[in-house]
């Protein structure tokens, strides 16, 4: 399932004194099977953009084509489309409402009109995806869980609809490192194992370095740059201009290069930096000559 955005512009409070342009002539394509990261400073239009992707916001002008079909066209079943394009909002734990975890997760599939057995199976699948033990948690109230667990329940509520595209708006915001790591490894698994197309909005460069196959940098409602993380993270000046930074590993790599270490300039993952450093260290130990 591919999503194509053509010249999308969105203004809030059109026609009043408070009119603001949130998105300014955006064109892009979300390819099947990719892990697209959308990064940008607060107020750059990321959240507005993702809400267009399943028709929750209507463009002021421009089009969104899902498999060639205009999302805001006249005879489009938007509810059905929304179930194929799952959207997880920022702080999704605040949308939980049911008495038990299982019932809450079942809300989406129930709206799809599935059979009871199918719903139950979907709930088990979704809880398994987010690493929550079904037997332990299905009858618990979602309101007595920890913040990270609540968020995973909320994400499971979207996954239970088995969307082919999953969009997440800041899924790791406000979580402790362990909660964050859990969400990220879960997304990694969904992407590689279940082949779900994932669009993730974040301003954590480290999260992006770990997961994204392609990045879009947004600033003031426009696309500033797009490319693979390796292409993007080399351009530290651009990232700083966008009010962002680069991953810790990329920054460390640059600092080491300035000290004269023989490292490639485009490293951005902790693992690859470690590999290169180890190689340098071994070469130094074996050859006896200092690499500096």
């Amino acid at each position: 399932m591919s999503i194509e955005i053509r010249n999308l512009t969105h203004c809030y409070s059109e026609g009043s004194a408070l009119r603001t342009v949130a998105l300014d002539d955006i064109s892009m394509t979300i390819e099947d099977g990719e892990f697209l990261g959308i990064i940008g400073h607060t107020g750059s239009g990321k959240s507005t953009l993702v809400q267009h992707l399943n028709g929750l916001l209507k463009p002021t002008s421009g089009q969104i084509l899902v498999d060639g079909q205009d999302l805001n066209g006249e005879h489009v079943n938007r509810r059905a489309l929304r179930q194929r394009i799952g959207l997880v909002f920022q702080y999704p734990e605040y949308q939980l409402f049911e008495e038990t975890v299982a019932k809450d997760i079942a809300f989406g599939p129930k709206n799809q009109g599935l059979s009871k057995a199918e719903i139950d199976q979907r709930v088990r699948y979704a809880m398994d995806c987010v690493h929550l033990d079904y037997d332990k948690y299905n009858a618990r109230s979602p309101f007595e869980l920890s913040g990270g667990q609540m968020r995973r329940v909320a994400i499971a509520g979207v996954l239970a609809m088995k969307p082919s595209v999953l969009i997440l708006d800041e899924p790791t915001a406000g979580l402790d490192p362990r909660g964050r790591d859990r969400i990220l490894s879960m997304l990694e698994e969904l992407h590689s194992r279940d082949n779900v197309t994932i669009v993730m909005v974040s301003h954590s460069m480290d999260d992006m370095a770990r997961l994204a196959t392609r990045l879009i940098v947004m600033a003031e409602g426009r696309i500033l740059a797009t490319g693979t993380p390796r292409e993007i993270f080399v351009r530290e000046d651009l990232m700083i201009a966008a009010g962002l930074g680069v991953p810790d590993a990329a920054r460390l790599c640059r600092a080491l290069r300035e000290k004269g270490l023989d490292l490639p300039d485009n490293l951005y993952r902790p693992e690859e930096l470690k590999e290169h450093l180890l190689r340098l260290w071994r070469a130094q130990r074996e050859g006896g000559a200092a690499p500096c």
């Binding site: 004194a17 929304r82 179930q83 997880v88 909002f89 605040y94 409402f97 709206n111």
Partner: protein, 272 residues
């Protein structure tokens, strides 16, 4: 969905009227209402209209916004007009048709009563259009504070108003967000009969209440940790000051009332 609900119609521009002391603006609004009720003739209403147009001009608020405030009340205004038109007995018969009798007196009364409503709404709209809700509740607090001697909780009331007003946009935003989140999970808020729709509200209302209580708790904690203990000895960030313009505005309004009263005494019956 929710974009049609605009709470508090404050029109954020800068003008002489916007800068008036909110206390004075409240008093002016009350005096304007008095003036509206004193007017009983065309000249009186013309004076009111002149004042309103003048005030609107000074406030940089587009005149159509004032008229927009009338829209929700248009049915009431029309009904007032019709009732007075048809059911006021008089001597000077204008139209007689089937069982309908329209007298000149009835026509005039219908016109004046509906105009009175129009002026009341437009005048008070001007107050809320040019005064931010926060300034308004500040003004109410100081105007009510003399009542403290009889243990009237003026400060608490104003604080509650301020907090309530402050949270309306937040809760609206929250509602919008939860609504969208549930719609993303296939919820349907728009179709079905009354029962189905009421049931569809549960996924919206439960999270909304949970978050409202959470916010209330957080706010209480934040206020207490900053040593809030009520109005006693509390100073303000925005100190209300009356300036020359305030007294000038008061003078203009008093002049308006005086003119209307004088006109009522001396010109009555000359024109109509």
């Amino acid at each position: 969905m929710l974009k049609n609900i605009t709470m508090g119609q404050y029109y954020p521009v800068d003008s002489v009227v916007h800068r008036l002391d909110p206390r004075m603006k409240l008093i002016l609004a009350i005096l304007f209402i008095v003036a509206v009720f004193m007017a009983h003739s065309f000249v009186g209403y013309l004076l009111l209209l002149a004042f309103l147009v003048f005030a609107c001009k000074m406030s940089n608020v587009p005149f159509r916004l004032l008229l927009k405030g009338l829209r929700p009340l248009r049915m009431i205004i029309i009904i007032t007009f019709l009732l007075n038109l048809f059911f006021t007995p008089g001597e000077d018969l204008l139209v007689s048709f089937w069982i309908i009798r329209i007298y000149r007196e009835g026509f005039m009364q219908a016109l004046f009563y509906s105009l009175r409503l129009v002026f009341l709404v437009a005048g008070t709209s001007l107050l809320t259009l040019t005064t931010s809700p926060i300034a308004l509740s500040d003004g109410i607090e100081t105007l009510l504070s003399p009542l403290r001697v009889i243990h009237f909780p003026a400060h608490e009331l104003a604080m509650m108003m301020t907090i309530a007003l402050r949270f309306i946009p937040t809760l609206l935003e929250e509602t919008d967000k939860i609504m969208k989140a549930q719609m993303a999970r296939g919820a349907d808020f728009e179709s079905g009969n009354l029962m189905v729709r009421a049931k569809a509200m549960v996924p919206l209302l439960v999270p909304l209440f949970v978050s409202a209580f959470r916010r209330a708790g957080d706010l209480a904690m934040a206020m207490e940790s900053r040593c809030y203990h009520g109005g006693e000895g509390r100073t303000r960030l925005r100190v209300l000051k009356t300036t020359k313009n305030d007294w000038l505005a008061l003078l203009i309004l008093l002049l308006l009332i005086a003119l209307i009263v004088l006109e009522g005494i001396f010109l009555k019956g000359v024109l109509f």
